[in-house]
Amino acid sequence: MNRAAKIAVLALLASLSLATAAWAEGGDDRLAPAKLDRGNTAWMLTSSALVLMMTAPGLALFYCGLVRKKNVLGVMMQCVFLMGLMSLIWAFWGYSLAFGSDVLGGVIGGGDFLMLKGVLPSLATDGKTVTVPMMDAYGIPRSVHMVYQMMFFIITPGLICGAFAERMKFSAMVLLSVLWGTFVYCPIAHWVWSDTGWLNPANTAAKFPAFDFAGGTVVHISSGISALVCALLIGKRLGYGQEPMPPHNLTYTCIGAALLWVGWFGFNAGSALEANVLAANAFVATHMAAAAGTVSWALAEWWHRGKPSILGACSGAVAGLVCITPAAGAVTPLAGIVLGLLAGFVCYQACLLKSKLGYDDALDAFGVHGVGGTLGAILTGVFATQLVVPGSSTAQGLLEGNAQQVVNQVVGVLASGLLGVIGTFIILKVIDSVVGLRVTQEEELMGLDVSQHGEEGYIFV
């Protein structure tokens, strides 16, 4: 920021000897290039840290509390290992496939950023001048954008893990994450968020400009629907429906939900890529939706079953957060309340339905992320408003009279859902034939902690 001041100052030498009024950072232009905004950079670094915290300890705790004791580490390990694995892939090719310029007619990004080329500083041929790639519109280094988006790439396959918890081979999970990240996540991210994406409203040439501020389609629908495919293909857990399989430690689930809530501020408000009014709107809308979801699911249970449960309250918070994710940069916080209320109620119903349909989406990855994400994507088309959408001064959503937006949103949902279903199906079939999806019956009874990792979660004896 002050750098902007500085440049102005330098440019204006004719006026006063300003140079001394602003200070120097060792006179190193790389560290504070003309376009660097320190407030934005501070916020985006903070946001990146917050989103990483969502995967672990956030999601790791949320999920691990819901499984049986013998699988607690299996779930945590998936989250932690993904923090390592997906980061490497993102740096190697993921960011490039998602944010590179169109190839294959825009189905996916090209190799512009392979191995962080064009993301990291480079040396001019003089061997001295260093250029740092910047995202000029936001005043942040491109590497910050890369690392921030990396955190999304980490958590998304982590969400899917909820569906096949307690029974998938660790090696299969690793393969799935690599392939799914490459062939499902990257294309969808490219469609929605790359400058030339056919779903990106910021792209004036977009065929179906669908709002997805922070990943309703890219993260939640894609992972939710893929989770459903996983649950169906891998089959039920041994004893599902016969033995009780209650959460072994709801205190963990509650801590995890709270950390998800806190981290989601980075996820949603960070998606503004600036510490500006849009970020503020996303922050407040996100919080209101989470709050409304908490109350809504808990009240639904209270009404329906006579008691509000903490698992309900926590699930409601997450449902609200999922639902507001595509909308946070397009609707007001009051609309956020509406989204949250609906999300809590609808996702509760979806989870009830699951018991009836009988598939075993162990931790309700589909019921919460798939259903909540779809709901949110569509409601974004209803509530989007020129009060919030950057640069808009015309009707945005259905409520402002723009019915087309709902169509666009549906297209976005269908496109990402379709790729999710087909991609996941093929990937799972391939993996199944290579290493197999499921642990042996004996290993499953023993628990993944001991069978896959040679460890036990708790040694309280």
Binding site: L311, Y348, C351, L352, K354, G367
Partner: protein, 112 residues
Amino acid sequence: MKKIEAVIRHYKLEDVKNALTQAKVEGMTVTEVRGFGRQRGHKEMYRGAEYTVDFLPKVKIEVVVTESLVKEAVETIMRVARTGQIGDGKIFITDLAEVIRIRTGETGESAM
């Protein structure tokens, strides 16, 4: 010598321990258990999946005493652990073939 096993309510443990100590019982071993009897359980619900939990948390105490103390020990437990509500628990008495104190090797009554 007899072993008295009593399954009692959690929150009666402290009282029972104190009462037995006063009744000259010099040792006791306690285990956390879950019990199921006439007292009906409760329903638990996790995201719509409803479970009936029949097993309620109880505490099992084991007291080994000489024949002469059995009656008093049992009466003490019954007096203190009783609330009169279903779920107060049960007492099981077994004959012991032998008792040994590991530290000294004493057996029988002197091992108590």
